[in-house]
């Protein structure tokens, strides 16, 4: 997203130096929040497309408050391990860590984190903050992430949901209206499908997290669910319901009829590649990819893509799975630094800081930023679709067995997609494996009658 040619890089450097030179003497800009003098802190953050935006905002914090923040930028593949190592022994090298939503349960249940209000009782989440499915709240009794009776353990740094990306020019030429339901998408993409020149609709089919995450958007839209009521402790497996089967059949149709021949191995990078090269007029992609589509060094379709909230299904509403980064404070970090981490967080969650974050290329987490004049900027034109999607987006697999359930689903869904087994059999097998898993862990569980195979 921020790959620039050398000249532009030089121009940026010059501009920034000039800006700094001008800004510095004229008393440091009034801080977005009054945090006082704090000891330096170290943040564990992954190397992601939005990292440069975060780095800029941190620079702003340091400039305004004079407090130091060190960023340990780690490859995404190494984040979980570093976070685990940090909390499991001695003094934590990090005062603030960003945990992907799938990892939060492990850290909450393990008791490794300091509840935010115990560090600073006055710490409050701004009411404009989007809830992101309460992933930052932990009810230890119910073992569930909910604000109802839960303690505040984290806040969302950045929430990624997927949006429906499409080419208005291509659709207009074919006389197709922007799709509102998944059946619309199927109808539109079969019409637009013209291999090998163009694939009507691209979405992930890759085994594991890829197909699981993307398929669940369709599953939710069609009214399916993995377990019955985990918040209430009812782990009856409902993955092999007729609604889920309808969703899987629909998904396989999309892959087969509108995707490239290697749809069984499409990952997020592949989907982005097909959209960016102009080979696909529609796709299901993360919000964070929008900036790359607008970068001429990374995209052949600059300015040509628009976004819509993910389509609706038989449930009457759309379905989307939330993938968000949660900022947590390790219990074994020194107290003064824990407080400093919270001070930074308070600053980061202000409206001004979030606006700066959005302008630098990040995804803000406050609704007032989405309804402000920023949404009118052309390169932030994904904002309305995002806000709309957040209304129905859900957290999925929010329990300790989440990683294993994902592996089971990720394998069976992929096998159904590539034709190794029928959709009914795939869901039945997955249901059986998942039920066994819950039973072994002592959960209250059960099964639905098997689907026809």
């Amino acid at each position: 997203m921020l790959t620039m040619t050398t000249t532009r890089a030089a121009l940026w450097a010059a501009a920034l130096t000039l800006a700094a030179a001008v800004a510095a003497p004229a008393a440091a800009q009034k801080p977005f929040a009054d945090v006082g003098k704090q000891p330096p802190i170290t943040i564990l953050v992954a190397s992601t497309p939005w990292y440069p935006a975060f780095e800029k905002v941190v620079g702003l914090y340091e400039q305004q408050t004079g407090n130091q923040v060190k960023l340990d930028t780690t490859p995404f593949g190494g984040m979980l391990e570093k976070a685990r190592n940090a909390v499991r022994s001695g003094k934590s090298p990090y005062d603030l860590m960003f945990a992907d939503t799938q990892w939060t349960i492990e850290f909450y249940e393990g008791g490794f984190l300091a509840p935010l209000k115990e560090i600073d009782p006055a710490f409050e989440l701004p009411k404009e903050l989007l809830s992101y499915g309460d992933s930052g709240w932990w009810n230890a009794q119910k073992k569930w992430r909910t604000a109802d009776g839960g303690k505040l353990m984290a806040y969302t740094v950045l929430g990624n949901v997927q949006l429906l990306y499409y080419r208005p020019d291509v659709l207009k030429q074919a006389g197709i209206a922007p799709p509102k339901t998944w059946s619309d998408v199927l109808a539109a993409c079969t019409k637009l499908n013209d291999p090998p020149k163009s694939y009507g609709f691209v979405v992930r089919g890759e085994k594991g997290n890829g197909i699981r995450y993307d398929w669940q958007s369709v599953m939710l839209a069609e009214g399916g669910a993995v377990v019955k009521d985990p918040a209430a402790g009812d782990f009856t497996v409902t993955i092999n319901s007729p609604q889920a089967k309808a969703a899987l059949d629909l998904y396989i149709d999309l892959l087969k009829k509108c995707g490239p021949p290697n749809y069984g191995t499409l990952g997020q990078g592949d989907v982005i590649q097909l959209l960016a090269t102009g080979k696909a007029p529609m796709g299901d992609v993360v919000t964070a990819a929008f900036a790359s589509f607008e970068d001429p060094a990374k995209s052949a379709v600059v300015g040509k893509l628009e976004t819509l909230p993910l389509p609706a299904g038989r449930s009457g509403s759309g379905g989307a799975v939330i993938g968000n980064w949660n900022a947590v404070v390790p219990k074994n970090a020194p107290e003064a630094q824990q407080k400093a981490a919270l001070a930074f967080s308070r600053w980061f969650l202000t409206s001004d800081a979030q606006r700066a974050f959005a302008q630098a290329g990040g995804i803000p987490n406050r609704s007032d930023v989405y309804t402000s004049d920023l949404a009118k900027e052309p390169r932030l034109r994904w904002m309305p679709a995002y806000l709309e999607t957040m209304k129905f987006a859900k957290q999925e697999l929010g329990y300790a067995e989440g990683a294993q359930v994902e592996q089971i689903l990720g394998l069976r869904l992929n096998q159904a997609a590539i034709g190794e087994m029928s959709s009914g059999k795939a869901l039945n097998t997955a249901a059986k494996d998942i039920e066994e898993l819950f039973r072994k862990n002592g959960r209250k569980t059960g099964a639905l009658p098997p689907l026809p195979e």
Partner: protein, 283 residues
Amino acid sequence: MSDVAPASLPPAARGGWSGRAIVALALVAILGPFAWISTASFKTQIAIYAGQFPFTPTLSNYADVLFGRRSDFAANIGNSVLVALVSTVAVLAVGTLAAHSLRRFRWPAWVSAGFLGWTLVFHMVPVLTLLGPWYIAFRDLGLYDTRAALVLTHVTINLPMTVWLMTAFLREIPPEIEEAARVDGCTPLDAFLRIVLPLALPGLIAAGILAFVFSWNEFPIALSLTSRQTATVPVAIARFAQQYETQHAQMAAASVISTIPAVLLMFCGQRFIVRGLTLGAVK
């Protein structure tokens, strides 16, 4: 450079044109993907995505890797050079001495078989399972986030291969030569330094190159025991494999850059070893 290397195979054993054909084919097969990576490093991401050829070359990837705000690549290369060099010298020294000792002196079977067996079994353990205990151990010793920790662990994981390799190479040296030296009044240490080592030169170079390469490219331990300022090249390159998509253009540039110091070091290292050994070598 090859003035002191052992003589070539006699013409009788050379392959003639079939040998040359095999070598030519191999060179093409090896250099092909390499050429591809190198051209990719000069392309923009979209040019890589679309498989464009011809394309407009750009230096922005190299600029981003070397000078970008996110990147400490020069420092990472420095760390890698230090860790790889020191651990290679250390493992060669320790490993060759051990291999020589096991071969030359009659150790009881349980010592030689035990040591060799233990190293081999350790080599079979997936590195993933070693990370936790090593992290805790180095943390407690105050060596977390130091290059010393990396050097120690790299020596440990490369020791099995070095010892076994040197055992095989030392076996090629006829025992009569060492016997003759002993009869001449040479001390064991002298015999090792002046006779055995020079004769084992090709093996030393091979073992040294491999130890260096494995240390240079080692990823999981480096990731787990370092943070930003002590990170090595593979960790830096892995930063380009991001959560959703890989930044292929920068990764290609970083890979090309990272092979250069490695090749240079091996080249110079070779000459250094050769020169050092010939200075001490005897008739």
